[in-house]
């Protein structure tokens, strides 16, 4: 009886091919546009952060030229914070990109292996 209900459910719920193509294309375009917008925003934030760090670093270096000692120490602190933040953000970006590109290379390799196996008719 469960088999009977399973076959009925299969028939009732199977994916239908009546997707409104025009609407679907429009929605897909909207989604891709949202993705592009997000990538752009991310890039802008990355550069804004980088510029802020460089400004802090430069302000710190300028402060180190000041006559009074407290100013000099504050300047040194700011310059170090700015410099380290710049380095950190660059390292983060580099690691993220490298990790993803290594994984991508691995997948490309796996696809090549799968293709070769398919060509040779291997079933293991």
């Amino acid at each position: 009886m469960n088999n009977d209900i399973e076959s009925k459910l299969n028939e009732l719920l199977k994916m239908k091919d009546d997707l409104d193509e025009l609407k679907s294309e429009r929605k897909q375009q909207e989604t891709v546009d949202d993705f592009e917008k997000k990538q752009k925003t991310l890039k802008i934030w990355y550069y804004v952060w980088l510029v802020v760090c460089v400004i802090i670093c430069c302000a710190g270096l300028a402060g180190m030229e000041h006559n009074s000692d407290p100013y000099k120490w504050n300047g040194l602190f700011m310059a170090l914070v700015g410099f380290n933040s710049t380095i950190m953000i660059k390292i983060w970006y580099f690691i993220k990109e490298t990790k993803l590109s290594i994984l991508q290379e691995m997948k490309q390799l796996q696809i090549q292996v799968a293709k070769l196996r398919l060509k040779n008719g291997s079933h293991d």
Binding site: N2, L12, K27, F35, S122
Partner: protein, 180 residues
């Protein structure tokens, strides 16, 4: 073997999308739009609500794609988001009686052409959100028990027992209808 290649290719697409590649993301959207929509429509019974849920799901995917640690988990991860979105929509719809009535009407109208088993449809509508999710993942998306367990984040044994119980409930509900 072909399946394995397709699976790796799919993982590559996810990785490229994570790296910000627009074309790969577009391919992903093309690949998954139909299964997502089909699932959402079967869950909600309304095309408009289904499109909204799918669109909201994509927005979450865009926002959180980089937090996905393993590209092979994309399918279960995305369906979990979609299920949550569908459940939210379903709750919203059910809150207002008027809208609910219109929704049931729309559902009957939309599926009238494909209606082969009225009793089964009626029984499906009586299922809880959790049971409906299980049945749809199994029979609309043809997911294996393992895939369902990954999607819903519950053990395989629990999936099996819940599915079995749900099918029994459907069976009893249909039998009850036939006797009436």
């Amino acid at each position: 073997m072909v399946q394995e290649k397709a699976k790796i290719y799919h993982e590559l697409l996810v990785l490229q999308a994570q790296a910000g590649n627009r074309d790969s993301f577009e391919m992903l959207v093309k690949l998954w739009e139909k299964p997502f929509f089909s699932y959402a429509r079967a869950y909600l019974g309304s095309e408009t609500a289904a499109w909204d849920s799918v669109q909201e799901t994509w927005l979450v995917i865009i926002r959180k794609l980089n937090s996905l640690s393993h590209p092979a988990k994309f399918k279960s991860w995305a369906f979990r988001i979609l299920t949550n979105k569908c459940a939210d929509h379903f709750r919203k719809i059910s809150k207002e009686r008027k809208i609910e009535q219109a929704f049931v009407k729309e559902m009957n109208h939309e599926d009238a052409g494909n209606l082969k088993n009225e009793a089964l449809q009626k029984a499906m509508r009586q299922l809880t959100s959790e049971q409906k999710t299980l049945v749809l993942l199994r029979f609309n998306q043809n997911m294996s028990i393992f895939e369902i367990s990954k999607t819903l984040d519950i053990p395989e044994g629990t999936v099996k027992s819940r599915l079995h119980r749900t099918l029994n409930e459907l069976k009893l509900s249909i039998q009850g209808d036939e006797h009436e």
